[in-house]
Structure formats: structure tokens, C-alpha cells
């Protein structure tokens, strides 16, 4: 039984013009922090409300939500452990209840006053018309992102209301594009509502429209902004959607495929009742499947758990009023831009080279100018923020910094020198953060007067996009430093996961383990393309060799070397990778996407060549990652497997439908096979105690 059950409150208003009107409010009795969702009991309450409305002989019905929220869909908590029978029943239930709304002979109006997603949007589509408040957001169908699909009529009604191409855009493309949601103006432009209304008058105006409808008038919808009409045919739109889905998930989840099939069925005049039945079948396949179950798990991790920061020590966070970035190269400039925009405090950019500082300034100021150009920031504000930055080759301006982060060369001696010099200029409480990806935080702290303020603060490239920061605790790092780092991560809009100071922390260690297997497979004679294809079938965002190009062979090799030094048995040296790094080539592929001749020349294949077949390669790679994940846990690098999964989702973009990686390994039985127990335990170890 839900703590905050959703009710469909019904009130009546007697309009002189139109007669008795029913005003239905969706409400769960909580404020906007707990959005209204639907479960079986809620649907039952909807039916009860409809029974009552029919008895009252109402002339029209308006549905609206509590302040800020219309409804955000089915209650995800109900999905964990669902089986096919449950899924089918759940689909049927929604069809039944919403179907009754659609079948009403009197005008129905959905007054979308706020967040409207999934089942909430489906309810709105079952109404004859929709008003939308300009302030309402987000509007979306996130189901495919969670490896299910809109199974309460969305796939059948969306094409009928907004057309097949837009239905595909909202249900498939947006969902697979980092779960893109729409603002009110965008939703209106796509036809999801008939009237776009000022928030101040929203309910009054919606009531007036319902009155007009109930009185038999035909109030004209608001004009839509002129859009270039696409000349794409239905076939072309479907083909484009299928190609897009394939490119995104490579068949690792059936959700987009089934969604497209259902939209196609509706778009080719499929019978509505049959279409709804097909939705039920699709849900029965998708909901119990591991992909949807893993997605629900992942959703909880990144939307709730990581925001709660369960590992946060009690020590209060120190205020950060001045930030220093030492090392103003590409990474440093990105960091400076981020800190400046999010914290709006004085910033010092320090480097030894003037031209580097000049480029950093260009980057930071261009980032602000872009925000002004897009109307996201006033010009005066941008000027003010620019004035907060000092670009210097001198140490003196560093004084007064509360938080200093270094992004210099990945060499221990260089970083230690930076910290030593810094310590002469700043207070004992100033945090020394390092963006290192593979060097030891503890080693960097050695020799300092106050080593306890040193902490790893590892960002992922591109900084603007990837939300993860690995917060690495050195042997001497104290609680206050950790709290301050975690709080700062929050302030700059990042998701922080604390870990111990082990080589390459979490993401790069697991990625390199994975990469290592792939390189060995290539060493054994497997074509690079075949290795990529095999791993893409796991649903990873990109194959290992394009990833190698993205990171750069030099950096990849450096990381590999560092891990080899730390864990030689599991991270063997790769002569081929070393040669590739030395060669200066950008990666293994040429501009045409074929294996470059120069690479073939330097890549020595073992004799006899024994290319690894796709499934075997996948198993091998997964076993390696499983082993490494188990070690991360056993060595206490992170508190819980959930931390690993959070890192892989937010730092490597590993998909929701694998739940990161540990959840996936558990689901396919590999954890049981290798360790006799799942990696993700029922108890969350991070809740028990902060990271030590």
C-alpha cells in the first residue's frame, strides 16, 4: 500500500453557460517533491471517480494535477520483480481505466499544469483536448529509456494525435537521447496540447475552454509556430527511427524495436483495440526482462541515491568562496569555466605559460558569451563573472583560495611540486584537489605540512556532459575535507562518488580491464571491427577502439602502464599499445573507419592467429570486469557494488539497461558462477558507514 496514495478528487461547478462540470484533481497529498504517480489503487480510484461523474450527469470533465505536477506515470517501485502476468495485468488495467475516459460522451479536457510524463501524458492523450500551462515541465515519454514502452495507449494514441513522425521523436528518439524531455513550448509545438496558457490564469482559462466545449462551441486551438513541414514519408520516418535505435543500443534491449513496431501498427490504421492488446504483450515481454529491471535499479541509483550522498561524514563542509585552478590547459580551462558559472566566486587560473592562459581565457569567456547569446544569462552578469577571474603565471594571487585543483601534467613529481608551492600561499584549510586519473593521492600529500586536506577530485571528459566526479580519499584525508569536496560537487551540479585512493579509482580501472581483454583479442588476431561489434552487442555506448581514439592512445597507454605497475597479473603490458602510443597515430582506424595500414604494420599478431569469436569475447570481457569489480569491493575501494554501477553509468555512460555493470553480471548469473553470490547485495553498505 502506497504511503501517498494517488486520489482522483472530484468537485463540481455549475456553469450558467454549460451546466454541471466535473473538476477532477490528481493528488497524492504530498507536495511537489513527491510527484503524483499511478498504481493499481490509483487506477481503481479513477474508475470510482468516473462512476460518480456519470451518476452526476456532468456535461464536461476537466482533469488537472496538484500544484506543479500533473502526473509522472506509473509508480516505478511497483516494477521491481514484476513477472509477465503482472505486466500484462498492469497494461490491461491502465487500458481499461483510461479507455473509460476516452469513451465518455461528454467533452474531456486535460489541463496539464505541471510535470507530465509516461502514464500522465497517456491520460492526457485519452482526453479529447488538452490545455498546457507555459510553466509546465518536463513533458516526456521516458519509458523506452527504461527499457519498457508506453503501454497505456501511448504508442497508439500519440501517432493519432501528433502524427507518426512526432510520436517516434517523443517516444523513441528523445528517450534514447539521454532521456530528453520537453518544455511546455516544445510540447505545444509538437501538438501535444491544443492551447498554451499563461500560468497565472491557467485553471480559469482551462475552465472557460471546457465550458465552451460543453456548450457545444468549437473554441479554436492556439496557432502553432510555423514549422518547416517535413517531406519524410512514414516509411522513411520508421526506417530512420530503426536505424537510430540500432545505432544506440545495437539490439541490447528490445524496447525501442517494439515501440517502433507499435507506432507503425497505429500509423498504418491498425485497429485501436488490437493495438492496445499488442501493447500489453509488449509490456509482458519487456517489464520482467533484465533490461527493465536493471533500468529501475539504475534510475534509483542516479536519481535518488547519489543525490542523498549516503557516505557523507558528519563533519560540516567548509565554505568555498575562492577557487584556484592550477594548470590552465584544456582540462583546466573546462574546470575553470564550470566553477565560475556554477559557484560565481573569484577564480584564479594559474599556469607557467602565457599562451596557455590566453587560450584558457578565450575558452572561459566564450562559454559565458554563449550563455548570453542563448538568453540564459544577462550580459551584465557575464561581464561581472569575467571580472572575477585572474589569469596569472605568478603564485601570489592564489592567496585566499579555499579550494585549489590541479590539472597539470600527469607526473607525480610535477604535482607534488605544485602542492608544495601552493601550501606556501594558502591557508591550512584550503582543499588541495587533484584531477589525476591514475596517480596516488596519498603520494601527492606526502611531505606537505597539512596532508589531510588533499583529496582526489577526478572529472570525466567532456566535463560539461559527464556528471561523475570520483572523490578519492588519501590515507590522510580527513572528514572535513571529504564533506567539503562532496558538498562542492553538489554545488557544481556533479554527482560525486567517494572511493579509496587505489590506482585508477573505479571507472578507468574497469574500463582498462575491459580494454585489456579487447587488446589481447586483437593481439590474438581478432579484427578490431569484430571486437567493437562484439562489445557493442552488450549495449555499451561505444566500442573499445573508438573509445581508444577518443581518449588518445598516449593517455590510454599511460593509464595501462600505471595499472600494470599496480596490478601486473591482471593488467599485462601491451607492446602493441605501446607502439601505437609512440607512433602518434590517433587510433586504429583511418578516416574511412577501416583499420589503418600503418596500424596493421605495427600491430604484431600472435602466431598462429586465433581470432576470438564474438560470444566468447563477451564472456571473457565480462568475466574480467566481474573479477575486477569483486576486487574493488573486497579491497574496500568503494563501499558497495551500487557505487561501482553509479560510476560506470555516470562516468563511462554505460547503459541504464545493464544497471551499470554489477547488476548485469548478477542478472546473467555470472556473479553466482564466479563468486557464489551476487555483487549487489540486498543491504546497501554505503548506508552503514561513510567511506573510510
Amino acid at each position: 500500500m502506497s504511503e501517498d496514495p494517488t486520489r482522483f478528487h472530484v468537485r463540481y461547478s455549475d456553469s450558467p453557460k454549460a451546466g454541471r462540470l466535473a473538476l477532477v484533481t490528481l493528488d497524492n497529498g504530498a507536495d511537489y517533491r513527491k510527484p503524483t504517480t499511478f498504481d493499481d489503487a490509483a487506477l481503481g480510484d479513477l474508475e470510482r471517480a468516473l462512476d460518480e461523474i456519470e451518476k452526476q450527469d456532468a456535461r464536461g470533465v476537466l482533469f488537472t494535477g496538484k500544484p506543479f505536477i500533473f502526473a509522472v506515470g506509473a509508480d516505478l517501485d511497483r516494477f521491481a520483480g514484476a513477472d509477465a502476468a503482472f505486466a500484462r495485468r498492469a497494461g490491461r488495467r491502465g487500458h481499461q481505466a483510461f479507455g473509460r475516459v476516452r469513451a465518455l460522451s461528454i467533452p474531456t479536457l486535460a489541463a496539464i499544469n505541471g510535470a507530465c510524463m509516461g502514464g500522465g501524458l497517456e491520460l492526457a492523450l485519452h482526453c479529447q483536448r488538452r490545455t498546457l500551462a507555459k510553466s509546465a515541465a518536463p513533458i516526456a515519454f521516458p519509458e523506452v529509456f527504461l527499457s519498457i514502452l508506453p503501454a497505456w495507449g501511448g504508442t497508439q494514441l500519440a501517432p493519432r494525435v501528433i502524427g507518426p513522425a512526432r510520436a517516434l521523436e517523443v517516444i523513441v528518439h528523445n528517450a534514447l537521447n539521454q532521456n530528453r524531455t520537453l518544455r511546455a513550448s516544445e510540447a505545444f509545438a509538437r501538438g501535444l496540447a491544443d492551447w498554451l496558457v499563461e500560468p497565472v490564469d491557467f485553471l480559469e482559462r482551462s475552465l472557460q475552454i471546457l465550458e465552451a466545449l460543453a456548450a457545444g462551441e468549437a473554441p479554436a486551438p492556439d496557432p502553432r509556430p510555423d514549422e518547416a513541414t517535413s517531406r519524410e514519408s512514414l516509411d522513411e520516418a520508421l526506417e530512420r527511427a530503426r536505424a537510430f535505435a540500432e545505432a544506440r543500443v545495437h539490439g541490447a534491449t528490445r524496447a525501442p524495436t517494439l515501440a517502433i513496431d507499435l507506432i507503425e501498427f497505429a500509423s498504418r490504421d491498425g485497429d485501436l483495440a488490437e493495438g492496445l492488446e499488442r501493447e500489453e504483450e509488449a509490456l509482458a515481454e519487456l517489464l520482467p526482462a533484465r533490461q527493465a529491471q536493471a533500468s529501475v535499479y539504475a534510475f534509483h541509483l542516479v536519481q535518488q541515491r547519489v543525490r542523498r550522498q549516503p557516505w557523507r561524514p558528519e563533519a560540516p563542509a567548509r565554505p568555498v568562496q575562492k577557487v584556484a585552478v592550477v594548470g590552465a590547459g584544456l582540462m583546466g580551462a573546462q574546470l575553470g569555466a564550470l566553477f565560475l558559472q556554477r559557484l560565481e566566486v573569484p577564480l584564479v587560473m594559474k599556469d607557467i605559460a602565457d599562451d596557455v592562459l590566453k587560450r584558457a581565457r578565450g575558452h572561459i569567456e566564450a562559454a559565458l558569451d554563449e550563455r548570453v547569446a542563448r538568453g540564459r544569462m544577462r550580459e551584465g552578469k557575464a561581464s561581472f563573472l569575467k571580472s572575477l577571474v585572474t589569469y596569472t603565471t605568478d603564485d601570489a594571487p592564489l592567496a585566499g583560495a579555499d579550494f585549489a585543483i590541479e590539472a597539470v601534467l600527469e607526473r607525480l613529481d610535477v604535482k607534488r611540486a605544485v602542492f608544495a608551492a601552493l601550501e606556501k600561499r594558502v591557508s591550512a584549510e584550503c582543499l588541495f584537489a587533484t584531477n589525476t586519473s591514475s596517480l596516488s593521492v596519498s603520494a601527492m600529500a606526502e611531505g606537505l605540512e597539512h596532508p589531510e586536506r588533499v583529496v582526489g577530485f577526478h572529472f570525466f571528459n567532456p566535463v560539461k556532459v559527464l556528471p561523475l566526479v570520483e572523490v578519492a580519499r588519501g590515507t590522510r584525508t580527513d572528514d572535513a575535507t571529504l564533506s567539503t569536496a562532496l558538498e562542492l560537487a553538489k554545488r557544481i551540479g556533479k554527482s560525486a562518488v567517494p572511493c579509496r585512493d587505489a590506482t585508477a579509482f573505479v571507472v578507468n580501472r574497469l574500463l582498462m580491464r575491459f580494454m585489456g581483454v579487447c587488446i589481447e583479442a586483437a593481439d590474438a588476431g581478432t579484427e578490431f571491427r569484430d571486437v567493437d561489434a562484439a562489445t557493442l552487442a552488450l549495449g555499451l555506448p561505444m566500442g573499445p577502439f573508438p573509445l581508444l581514439s577518443l581518449v588518445g592512445p598516449r593517455i590510454a597507454h599511460h593509464t595501462a602502464q600505471t595499472l600494470h605497475e599496480a596490478f601486473p597479473e591482471r593488467f599485462p603490458e601491451s607492446a602493441n599499445l605501446a607502439r601505437l602510443a609512440e607512433s602518434g597515430l590517433p587510433g586504429v582506424y583511418d578516416e574511412k573507419g577501416q583499420t589503418a595500414d600503418a596500424v596493421r604494420a605495427l600491430w604484431e599478431i600472435r602466431k598462429p592467429a586465433q581470432p576470438v569469436e564474438a560470444e566468447a569475447l563477451r564472456q571473457w570481457a565480462l568475466r574480467a570486469v566481474a573479477e575486477e569489480a569483486r576486487l574493488l569491493l573486497d579491497d574496500g575501494v568503494v563501499a558497495d557494488a551500487r557505487d561501482i554501477d553509479t560510476c560506470m553509468i555516470l562516468g563511462a555512460g554505460w547503459p541504464f539497461f545493464n544497471g551499470g555493470i554489477c547488476k548485469h553480471l548478477d542478472q546473467i548469473g555470472m556473479s553466482e558462477q564466479l563468486f557464489g553470490a551476487p555483487l549487489v547485495g540486498t543491504r546497501d553498505a554505503a548506508e552503514a558507514a561513510p567511506a573510510r
Partner: protein, 394 residues
Amino acid sequence: MTQLRDACYVDGVRLPIGRAKPDGYYAKTRADDMAVRTVRALLERNPGLDPARIDDVAFAATAQVGDQGLTLGRSVALLAGLPRSVPGYAIDRMCAGALTAIVNAANAIRTGGQDLVLAGGVEHMGHHPMAAEIDPNPRFLAEQLVDPSALVMGSTAENLHDELPAVTRERCDRFAVLSQERTAKAQADGVFASHVVRDTVWTEAGWRVVDRDEHPRPGTSLKDLAALRAPFRAGGRVTAGNAAGLNDGAGCVLLASAEAAQGMGARPIMRMLDFVFVGVAPETMGSGPIPACDAVLARNGLRMSDIDVVELNEAFAVQCVAFLDHFELPLDTIQVNPYGGAIAVGHPLAMSGARLTMQLAHYLDTHEEAKRGITTMCIGLGMGAAILWEKCHE
């Protein structure tokens, strides 16, 4: 003396008045949102009004805190979507807040300083019970500047009874019955529908549309009233039945110069001729309307018989009957409160002046022979107000 322009009443709206209880209409509605609704309604009813040409927004509230604080007129202007170039201010003269806002607005127009002004009042007595957030200066009592009874409105009413023995409880109850009857008739005749706009309010059971006053008890009889106890004094005469209630409400009027009214294609209904505010003994604040009306009549060479209609706020029946006696009018004269009053409909403190003004305008506009009217109120801490209006001629 400089020539003054006419300041004309063009339109006015109010929300249904609610009961200031936890289950009243507006229990979960913010006072400023109620004020915003009145402004939005005025804009909707007057499409010829260009919001950018509004010169000021004057909004009154007695408790200038919380959801009624933050320089109400300006907040309301921004929240109602008026252009940022439209200024606003807040005002307080207890019960006569809106009345004072209207006078200020009218005077700004008369002197030529402003052309179009919104003037109104709001009071959410559920969120802000009278005197709950006040800290009266100890000198009031220590130096006997006022009697303790002056700070309790019901006690001032009892004091007035003491001074005027001819104003009996029975006559007060009869006046109260009349108020209920006339209010019910006005509701049925659609008088209120002309200027009461509906609102959609949040409740624990979802959104609710409110379109009529919550407070009236139609069918109230003398017997019902006689049975009520007197809470302010043992054996007293003032009861809940012959006094105004504790209520939530908002109202706003649109005032314009004659040219501005013409410019927006609107018909001016009445113009302000004169205004008087006086101080009276705080212990018998209910007497306020008497000297105020005496003064405004004298200054304009008029007598009460020259006035076609009076909207007198019914804070307490005793002060209404006292008023009638003073001007030698019968208890049931149709000249005073033809549409009933606060005893039936309620008295959200700062807002009532707007209601009186709208009702006066409606009367003048619907009675061809009626030419002049007065809105008058008694005010806490001992004041009286009287505004003299005259119908505009085409």
C-alpha cells in the same frame, strides 16, 4: 484653486468572500494570489485597457506580512503579468484600506498626476487573525491614551450601546435580519454576478471553483439571533449574528480620468466628488461614519436627503442603527445598504471598501434617477471615512 479633473470609476471586481476558517474557501490560498486574480479579471473584462498604461497599483491589507506583505501593489503587479514599468504600493488604514487606496488613486487622477490606477484591498484573516501579529505600544494603556476596550472591536461596539440606549439589541437583530434578506435577494437577482468573479482554489480534496459568497445565512430569523450569546460582555448586546464575520476576500477597482476611460473605450460610471477621514474616540470607533458623513455633506452643501444611496459597512449592527438614528432614517430604509452588507456577506478588513464601492456603482448604474452616493465606514483605532460619488453623465 487649481482646476481638478474627474476621477471616474470604470469597473470593479471582487472574489467571493470566504470564511476565515481552516475549512473555508481560501484556507489553502495565498492572499496575494487572491489579489492577482482580481487584477487578471479586470484585465479580461476590459480588453481596451493596455496594461502598459496603468500608472499605479495600490493594494491595501491590514496585516502587511507573509502572503500579504512585500509591497503588495508591486508584487501583485508583477505576479499578474503587468509590464515591469507599472509601479505599485501597499497601504493600510485597517478596515478602510481599500477605501484609502481608492481615495489616493482618485486624488492622483484628479490632480493630473496619473490617468489609470488599479486600487484594491485584500485580507486573509484566516492566515492573519486581527492583531495576531501586532505589538501594541504599552504607553496606550500605561498613559491611558486609550481604554483597553479600544483594542477589541466587539468591546467598542458594546461601548457604543452604552452611549446610545435607544439602540437596543432587538433593533440590532432586526437590522441584521434585513442585511441577510437583502443579501440573499441581491444574490438571487444577479446583482453580485455583475462584479463577483469566480476563483479556482486549492483544497485538501483537490481544486474547487468558488463563485458565490460563503458567509451569508439566508433565512436567518429574529428568533435565531435572539438565541445567540454575547461574547464580549456578560449580558451584552453584540453577538456573532449582528456583527460582521471573520473573513477572507479580495477586491479591486479600476479608476480613470475621463479621457483615459474614453481612450480605452470604457464607460465611466461615477466620479469622486469629495472624501473625508476623521478620528473619533477609539473606544467607540463605530461612531466614525457619523462625523465623516456630516463633514462631507456640509462641505458640499448637501443633506442626507440629497443622497440617493449609502453603502455603509456593517462592522456591527449597533453602529449602523446609530447611523440611521442620527440621520433620522427608518431602520428598513432602502436608501442605506440596498444589497445587504457585511453582517451577511462578511468583512475581510482592508478589502471591504472596494466591495462598498462596487455595490454603490452598481446601484447608481442600474437606477436611472439615482445621482449621488456615499461609501462610508467605521475604522479600528477610532476613525471614520466617507467618500462622496456622483454618477457620470454621458
